[in-house]
């Protein structure tokens, strides 16, 4: 019985060491790939990220119709495509990044929100610039990032933080500042509504 317990503890310890080493190695390798591919030339590294990043990195499809901060040049869609291993490592690294501006656990992702829909479609017409799924079709403007599939790649907490202070997360210029225009509940509702786009 004693031997059995000892063997069990040893095997658990070994499993733990392997698991810790594996995740730490993935993160370090991910950072190496991130640096060598110069991802930081376009992306801020202090921002929040999602656990849906892995699939996107393997098969990157443009989220913006137009080039960043441009309304004249189309997005050429030439984002680096990563292998399974690379995408896993880079995702592990990205998941270690946190933003002080994003409070966690405020928005429940994917939960329907009628008030948010009203803000999005009536009160501020977000679709004027953002395309989104409407009655099975893609509808809306082209100057802003597409929100089709937004629920698969964005966290509601991030959207809420972005609405409160867009410039703290992305140095984007064309998005109107809604702080002081939409109230806090409106921002929370619309953030939750956007996470239902899947």
């Amino acid at each position: 019985m004693k031997d059995f317990l000892l063997a069990l503890i040893c095997s658990m310890a070994i499993t733990l060491i392997i698991a810790v080493n594996h995740s730490a190695a993935g993160q370090a390798e991910g950072k190496g790939i991130y640096d060598s591919k110069k991802c930081g030339d376009c992306h801020l590294t202090a921002g929040p990220n999602t656990d849906k990043t892995f699939a996107w990195l393997k098969n990157p499809k443009p989220i913006r119709q137009m080039e960043y901060n441009s309304i004249e040049k189309k997005n050429s869609g030439n984002h680096s495509k990563l292998s399974d291993k690379e995408a896993g490592d880079v995702t592990a690294y990205l998941m270690t990044l946190k933003s002080k501006d994003v409070a966690e656990g405020v928005i429940i992702d994917g939960k329907p929100n009628i008030q948010g829909k009203l803000v999005f479609e009536k009160k501020q017409c977000c679709y004027g610039c953002h395309s989104y799924p409407k009655s099975g079709k893609v509808s809306g403007g082209l100057s802003a990032p597409s929100l089709v599939d937004a629920g698969k790649r964005l966290q509601g907490d991030w959207i809420y933080a972005y609405l409160k202070n867009p410039k703290s997360l992305i140095p984007v210029k064309r998005m109107p500042t809604y702080a002081g225009i939409l109230n806090d509940n409106d921002m929370k509702n619309v953030a939750q509504y956007v996470t239902t786009f899947k």
């Binding site: 004249e72 009160k123 501020q124 809306g140």
Partner: protein, 121 residues
């Protein structure tokens, strides 16, 4: 002599500061290109990239003198600052009052007047 040096220094300082503050504020043309043109078009003809066929209303054509002349200066300032919702127009027009200063919004009025080649009421 010292008095003269002080006065000259002060004048130079003020002129430099005025120049710096002027260059820091975006010009009306720059603001139009950043904010308005995404819907109203770079030429102001209402054919911006957001004017897709499925949008419920078309962005206003800022080169249409007849339509634009119906507006007053305060109509123009109000709709830019508070958006369509606050001015009984379509909410497709967003509020830019937290993105531009009041001075920048006022400077857009003569720029729009130039685009439509008309005067506001």
């Amino acid at each position: 002599m010292i008095k003269r040096i002080i006065v000259v220094t002060l004048v130079l300082f003020l002129v430099t500061m005025f120049g710096i503050s002027k260059s820091l504020a975006a010009s009306a043309e720059e603001n139009y290109k950043w904010y308005c043109s995404q819907c109203h078009g770079l030429k102001g003809d209402g054919k911006g990239i957001n004017a897709t066929p499925d949008q419920p209303v078309n962005p206003k054509n800022h080169t249409d003198a007849k339509e634009m002349a119906k507006l007053s200066t305060s109509d123009v300032e109000n709709v830019i600052r508070d958006g369509g919702a606050a001015t009984s127009k379509s909410t497709m027009m967003p509020p830019w009052g937290k993105s531009m200063t009041d001075a920048e919004i006022k400077e857009l009025v003569p720029y729009l007047s130039k685009l439509c080649n008309c005067k506001f009421k």
